[in-house]
């Protein structure tokens, strides 16, 4: 049987224990809240919008006139469309009906694609990456052929 004095001692001990646990909990959450950063990911949406903007720029009304784009513009396709941004990589392949590449355009940090391939298969969610294929009429000279555009878009992180 516990005496009255013993029971009081246990109560006091319990208060100390509660205080100690509360102090530890506050310390842990306080320190972790300093380093906690809430980052909202919008790169997927940006990749979708960028794909649409580049598509509308290259093939308005679904007709892609290759003659309009000079050789110099082929390596700066974002600038050609007035969309220059350091965070983006856009690679465009123009394919004919047989699936052969007849023209290539790109701009941006292609290294981000290489990094993405390295981390691929690690089971990680891959935001800001999008591959988009759609049929177009390709105009070259006076002829028009059916083909398609294959576009790869990578949006890097905003630091």
């Amino acid at each position: 049987m516990i005496s009255k004095r013993g029971a009081m001692g246990e109560g006091v001990f319990m208060i100390y224990r509660l205080l100690l646990v509360s102090v530890i909990a506050f310390a842990i959450f306080g320190i972790s809240s300093i380093f906690y950063a809430y980052e909202i990911e919008v790169r997927d949406s940006e990749a979708v919008i960028l794909t649409r903007q580049v598509s509308e720029c290259l093939a308005p009304e679904g007709v892609f006139n290759l003659d309009l784009i000079s050789e110099d513009s082929r390596k700066s396709i974002l600038s050609y469309c007035g969309l220059s941004n350091e965070r983006f990589y856009v690679g465009v392949e123009v394919l004919n009906e047989a699936g052969d590449v007849i023209a290539e355009f790109s701009q941006g940090d292609s290294g981000s694609g290489w990094v993405r391939k390295l981390t691929q298969g690690a089971g990680q969610y891959d935001p800001g990456y999008r591959i988009f294929e759609y049929p177009v009429l390709i105009g070259q000279g006076i002829s028009e052929i059916e083909g398609k555009i294959k576009m790869e878009v990578i949006v890097s992180h905003e630091f």
Binding site: M14, L18, F26, F29, E39, E46, I49
Partner: protein, 140 residues
């Protein structure tokens, strides 16, 4: 004499039995108390965690980030000639200022001035003006 001794031993045994049962009840009560204290402690820690997380998520910096990114996405997807208004008093707090500078959107929420902003990539010219109780962003 023998039967008296036997009787006394029996009474003693019953007293011991009664004392032991009291002790067992007391111990059960103590265990229950300890479990209750532990539940309260776990609940306390959980509540602190929930409040800390909620505090961070509803913080002004998060609201600012949401607004800046939403605005940048709206500008990115807008066609030339479009305009959209942002109410000063909204669910994400009171907006004090909206600024477009060097390809970035800056939003001041509840007195928290924007430091980083968020970049947009629209090919159009973007401007912002204050109009009554809202800010109007024009894409031309």
């Amino acid at each position: 004499m023998g039967s008296l001794l036997k009787m006394e031993k029996k009474v003693q045994f019953q007293r011991n039995l009664l004392y032991l049962s009291h002790l067992r009840i007391r111990k059960k009560g103590e265990v229950l108390n300890q479990v209750l204290v532990h539940i309260v402690l776990v609940g306390l820690i959980f509540a602190i965690f929930v409040f800390a997380t909620a505090g961070r998520i509803n913080g002004r910096d998060v609201k600012q980030q949401v607004l800046e990114k939403e605005l940048a996405l709206l500008i990115d997807s807008a066609e030339g000639g479009m305009e959209f208004g942002i109410q000063k008093a909204m669910i994400n707090g009171k907006i004090n200022n909206v600024e477009i500078k060097e390809g970035r959107v800056y939003v001041t929420v509840e007195g928290l001035a924007a430091t980083k902003g968020y970049p947009y990539f629209s090919k159009y010219s973007v401007s912002v003006r204050e109009e009554g109780n809202k800010f109007v962003v024009s894409v031309r």
